[in-house]
Every structure is written in structure tokens, then in C-alpha cells.
């Protein structure tokens, strides 16, 4: 690479904007609230994406996971609470994870590679993703999520299963990412 290119581009920019007035940023929109997000709204919005949603008391999460997974073998990333789900023997055909933050208004789950979330690839390659969201991780809106997240971590925002609208703009669930997304919301 030539250092020249860098200098040329920066010089072009400076001469292009020379004399242009400074532009002030106006933020009149709803910012972060710092409040808890609405569990029901979150559940409804996730369901809108054709994901499967369960809302259960915290104490019943383990039982729910056992019931959902049945005989299924799931990959369990490091740091996933062992009292919720214990990996069984065999070839996994899905993955179970926790999350970092969830957004009620948009039905979004955010993973930040923290404990129980694995690497980005771990929640991507399998065809089935089961995610456990604690109600205190749900925030009302996007600004709240941005305020809570650490940009230096690799982040994946997930809103429903993989989808495409490339054929006649019809949404079809399931292309390269997990075709099934199942979410267990732990309340109380």
C-alpha cells in the first residue's frame, strides 16, 4: 500500500469540505431509558419472526429445556449454566446458548461471546439454536441495547431465524443460519 494514497484521499477531503459550515447533530428521538423491557412485548415480537417462544419461571427453565430438547444433542458453549442443561453424548445437531442483551421493541437477541454464548461460529453453523434469555436482560429499545453493549466484543444481533426475501420479496425462513430459533424467557 502506498502512504501516498492515504495522504491524497485526506487532502482531497480537506479541500472538498473547506469553507463548508460545521454541521450540528440533533438528537430529538427517544434515547436509552435505563428501564426494564416488557417481557410480553419481547415474546410477541420474537414470535412475529416465526421463532418459537416459551415464557417460564426461572425455577422451571431446566425442566423446560429438558422437555424441549427431548432426546436431542446440543452443543453447550463454555460457561452455560450447568444446572440448566447438561450436554449429553453424541453428535450435536443444534446449539443452546445464553445471551448478553435482548430488545423488546424489535424482538432482538444480542450475543457478545460472553459465558454460555460460545464463539460466533458455534451459534451459526448448526441448524437449530435454542437461546435462554433472562427477563432482566430485556431492554425496551435499541438505544438501551447500544448503551449496555461493549463494542470491543464481537457482537451478533439475532432477530428470528435466518431468512431471505430475495425471491419475489417473500420472506422465507432458513437459508444459511439456523432455520429454527427457539427462545426460552426466564422470568422472576
Amino acid at each position: 500500500m502506498s502512504a501516498a494514497a492515504r495522504e491524497v484521499i485526506l487532502r482531497r477531503i480537506r479541500s472538498a469540505v473547506e469553507g463548508a459550515p460545521e454541521a450540528e447533530i440533533v438528537r430529538g428521538y427517544r434515547g436509552a431509558t435505563g428501564e426494564r423491557g416488557d417481557v410480553e412485548l419481547f415474546a410477541e415480537r420474537v414470535r412475529d419472526y416465526k421463532a418459537i417462544v416459551h415464557v417460564v419461571p426461572r425455577a422451571e427453565v431446566a425442566a423446560t429445556l429438558a422437555e424441549i430438547t427431548g432426546g436431542r444433542v446440543l452443543t453447550v458453549p463454555a460457561g452455560f449454566p450447568s444446572d440448566m442443561y447438561a450436554p449429553s453424548e453424541g453428535e450435536p445437531d443444534g446449539v443452546v446458548s445464553t445471551c448478553a442483551v435482548a430488545v423488546a421493541e424489535t424482538g432482538t437477541i444480542v450475543l457478545d461471546a460472553g459465558p454460555g454464548q460460545g464463539t460466533r461460529a458455534q451459534t451459526l453453523v448448526p441448524d437449530y439454536h435454542l437461546c435462554v434469555v433472562r427477563d432482566d436482560q430485556i431492554v425496551p429499545n435499541v438505544p438501551d441495547a447500544i448503551a449496555r453493549l461493549d463494542p470491543t466484543r464481537p457482537l451478533t444481533w439475532i432477530s428470528g431465524p435466518s431468512a431471505t426475501s430475495d425471491i419475489e420479496l417473500n420472506r422465507v425462513e432458513g437459508v444459511h443460519g439456523p432455520r429454527t430459533l427457539e427462545v426460552v424467557i426466564a422470568i422472576g
Binding site: R27, Y29, S162
Partner: protein
């Protein structure tokens, strides 16, 4: 910009063909009307949409005004996080950089996430010349690539194809496509999944663009739907991102605005299925960022036209544009079709060809694009400004000068009207020359015997 469109005729000629293509018209009508409705519904859900739009506009304007400073900051942060930053003045330089980076890995195949910037510079063609094969992994891009076709929409590049056409294409061109393939979108998507899966797992190098870059943190952001983006961004050992210098945002907080504006404007969803954010070299990857100018700084120098650089490529303007809906994307002869293409292409490429000169006129100035644009780009005003800069034909110049001369004195106008009134029986049903464009499909109105002003003088006044 990429040479694939060189020598194309002017927009009206291309459009004349397109409007007679019933299949294309049907596909476009259906697709654009569907997405219009979806967008309107999710935008209507947010009562602070106007404020978000205002913030989006002012954040972008502020960034562009201080672009040098923020680019340097971005470079510093990406480098600190283990990435390598490259600068490319033009398409050729960007292609050289990427080609060399791929060659350094010893690989001859790369996977690609849909990226407007790499289409703009013709990267796939440049790589092919050096013996490197690029595989598009976005479903629509794959459809375009398999069909040796051109993209016709920013977001849905194969919007001009319907399910039956896609099925035929897959059967013909996609190795290993099942013989019993139906034209159901779900089945077609499944076929693409199977076809691409091996590539994802085996490829060592990926090339992407980015929707946003954050100066404050060095973070890059890619929004997508299918998961092919996540595959490309996370699985290969080396990631090369080619990004236009205008894709910058100053702070992490700014994303809270654009993550609301973009998905709702583009796919008409509250949020797109997947958004990936990474800072520098992540999870053991090697990361290169190629910052692309390629004409952007000259757009930046234009007081009126520079607002086009606010564009976040949501394609809302295409979806509401009555001209795009009928002419289709190919008529614009550029990777940037529709209203945004009509103002961006002539600015990036100049107005030296007949095609590029015709683009600012590819609009009825109805203003639908401006109304939906999430960063409030006043496309009609930029179009009008570009029209003033375009070269005009001699006949038109003479006509406009004559009209100007008449309008410059009310007495001349009155005289012309009286003359017209006397000649009114002699006006032919079909007009000659360029004006035949009017009478081809429309009757002329009857010319009144008396103008309004003559009536006023005679008896209107009291």
C-alpha cells in the same frame, strides 16, 4: 466504476424496452408494492421517526464535514485492534490491494458477502483476471452470478426474476441442484443452502463490505438476513472488507439511530435477522480494511450533490419510485439504480456519456424518494442541480431560450398567445420531432381563442 455498463444507450431507450417487458413489469410491480406496504407499516410504528430521520441526516452531515479526522481515528482504532487499514484512491487501486492480499494467502477461491462497493469497482472481474474465483453467497447475488446477469436492485439484486425463472436457472447452472426442484421459494432457498454450505466451510478467505464503520471504536457493522454474512465474516481465516469512506459514523452511540432507520427502510422489518459487529482482528482472524474513495471526494466537493453521500443504501427510494417500478434497475446502467443511482452515478462517473447525462432526467420529480429517504436526501433538488450542469442539445437550448425570451416580457407572451389563438385550427393532431413524444399517446387540448389575460383586460377586471 465498473466497466460492465460501458456503451449502454441512454436511459429513455433502455426504459422504452423495459416498459414493454410484461414479465419484468409484473415482477417489479409485485415486489415494490409489497415492500412499500411493509415499510410504511413498521415506520408508522415509531412515533419518533421524524426525529430519527433528522438525527440520521445530521450525524451523516457532521461526519462528512469532518471526514478526514474521523477516518484517521478509525484507522488508529482498527490498527490497535489488530487489523490492517489500506487506502484506495480509485477502483484499480482497490482491486490491486485486494488481489495482492488474496494472493498472499495462497488461495485461489474466495467467498463474498453482497457488497455494493465491490460491485462498483468490478472486483470479481479483476480477481478473475488474476485467476481468483469469487463466489457470491447472497441468494440474490448467486442468482445474478449464475445467470451472468446484472443486479437490478440494491437490496434484492434479482428482483427482476420471478420464482419460475430462478428455478430454471438453478436447474441449468447450479451444480448438484436436485432434479425435482420446485419453484417454491423455500425449496429454492434450501437448494442454495446446500450448494453454498461446503464453500463456507472450506473457504479460507472472505470479502465483504460494511454498512457502517465506527470511528470511535474501530467497529465494523454488517446487516443481513440469510446468515451468509455471518458465515463469511466468521468462518474464513482472512477477512477483507472493502468500504466506501462515507460509511463512517463518529460514535458507537450513533448506531442506535441507524439500526432503527436502516432495517425499517430497507426490508420493512423491525430488525433484520442478523447484524454482525466486529472490531479489528476477531477470534483469531486476520482482518484487512480497504477504504475506498473512487470519486467520493469529488462528490463531497459539490455543495448540493454531497448529500448523496449520506445514503445508507436502504433502497427505500427505489421501492417507491414510479420510474424505477416501470423501467427496472438495468435501465440505469449502473450498480446504483433508481433515484439514488440517478444522482450518484453521474456524480461518481461524470456526465461524459449519453447514458450518464440522461440519468438526472430519469425522474418526474414526484418527490416520493425524498419523502421516504431515512437520511432525508433531497433527491429531486440534486437531480435539478445536475440537470443544470448537464450538456443540453442545441435544439433544446434554442427552444428554452425562445421560451425564456417570450416569458421575459408579458407583452411578448400576450402576442404569442394571440398568435396561437389565431392559428388554433391549424395545429396538427400529431406534433413533429421530439414533441411527438407528447402526441404519441395523448390528444392535444383545444387551444382557446382568447387567453386569460385578454379576457381579464376585456371584461374580467372591474
Amino acid at each position: 466504476m465498473s466497466g460492465v455498463f460501458v456503451g449502454m444507450p441512454a436511459f429513455p431507450k433502455n426504459a422504452a424496452k423495459a416498459v414493454q417487458n410484461s414479465q419484468l413489469r409484473f415482477n417489479l410491480r409485485k415486489a415494490t408494492h409489497t415492500i412499500r406496504g411493509k415499510r410504511a407499516a413498521v415506520v408508522g410504528e415509531l412515533d419518533d421517526w421524524a426525529e430519527l430521520r433528522q438525527a440520521g441526516k445530521t450525524i451523516k452531515d457532521h461526519t462528512l464535514r469532518n471526514l478526514d479526522r474521523y477516518l484517521v481515528q478509525l484507522e488508529e482504532k482498527v490498527t490497535e485492534a489488530g487489523g490492517t487499514v489500506h487506502w484506495a484512491r480509485d477502483a484499480a487501486e482497490a482491486n490491486r490491494i485486494v488481489t495482492r492480499l488474496v494472493k498472499d494467502t495462497g488461495e485461489t477461491e474466495v467467498v463474498k458477502v453482497k457488497s455494493m462497493a465491490t460491485q462498483e469497482i468490478g472486483l470479481n472481474e479483476a480477481l478473475a483476471e488474476e485467476g481468483i474465483e469469487a463466489f457470491e453467497t447472497d441468494l440474490a447475488e448467486l442468482i445474478v452470478q449464475l445467470g451472468d446477469d446484472f443486479p437490478s436492485h440494491i437490496l434484492v439484486p434479482a428482483i427482476h426474476r420471478n420464482r419460475a425463472e430462478i428455478r430454471e436457472l438453478f436447474l441449468k447452472k447450479m451444480a448438484g441442484a436436485p432434479k425435482d426442484l420446485t419453484d417454491e421459494p423455500r425449496v429454492l432457498a434450501e437448494a442454495a443452502r446446500v450448494y453454498l454450505r461446503k464453500r463456507f466451510l472450506e473457504s479460507k478467505v472472505a470479502i465483504s463490505g460494511a454498512n457502517f464503520m465506527i470511528a470511535e471504536t474501530g467497529t465494523l457493522v454488517v446487516l443481513e438476513s440469510e446468515g451468509n454474512g455471518r458465515m463469511c465474516l466468521t468462518l474464513p481465516k482472512t477477512l477483507i472488507s472493502v468500504v466506501g469512506i462515507e460509511k463512517l459514523l463518529p460514535t458507537w452511540q450513533d448506531l442506535e439511530v441507524f439500526l432503527q432507520l436502516l432495517p425499517r427502510s430497507s426490508t420493512g422489518e423491525r430488525m433484520n435477522p442478523y447484524t454482525s459487529m466486529w472490531t479489528g482482528a476477531t477470534e483469531g482472524q486476520e482482518f484487512h480494511l480497504v477504504l475506498l474513495d473512487n470519486g467520493r471526494t469529488s462528490v463531497l466537493a459539490d455543495k448540493v450533490g454531497r448529500q448523496a453521500l449520506r445514503c445508507i443504501r436502504c433502497s427505500a427510494c427505489l421501492n417507491v419510485c414510479p420510474v424505477y417500478e416501470r423501467a427496472g434497475g438495468h435501465a440505469y446502467g449502473s450498480v446504483y439504480p433508481g433515484p439514488i443511482g440517478a444522482i450518484l452515478t453521474p456524480q461518481l462517473r461524470g456526465m461524459d456519456t449519453e447514458l450518464d447525462r440522461s440519468l438526472p432526467y430519469a425522474s418526474s420529480l414526484c418527490g416520493a424518494c425524498y419523502e421516504v429517504c431515512p437520511v432525508a436526501i433531497d433527491i429531486p433538488s440534486v437531480l435539478v442541480d445536475l440537470r443544470a450542469k448537464a450538456r443540453h442539445s442545441r435544439a433544446e437550448k434554442a427552444g428554452m431560450a425562445a421560451a425564456g425570451w417570450v416569458f421575459n416580457r408579458s407583452k411578448r407572451l400576450a402576442k404569442a398567445q394571440r398568435f396561437g389563438g389565431r392559428m388554433r385550427r391549424l395545429v396538427p393532431k400529431r406534433l413533429p420531432g421530439p414533441l411527438s413524444g407528447w402526441t404519441d399517446t395523448r390528444d392535444l387540448p383545444e387551444i382557446p381563442a382568447e387567453s386569460f389575460r385578454d379576457w381579464w383586460i376585456r371584461e374580467g377586471k372591474r
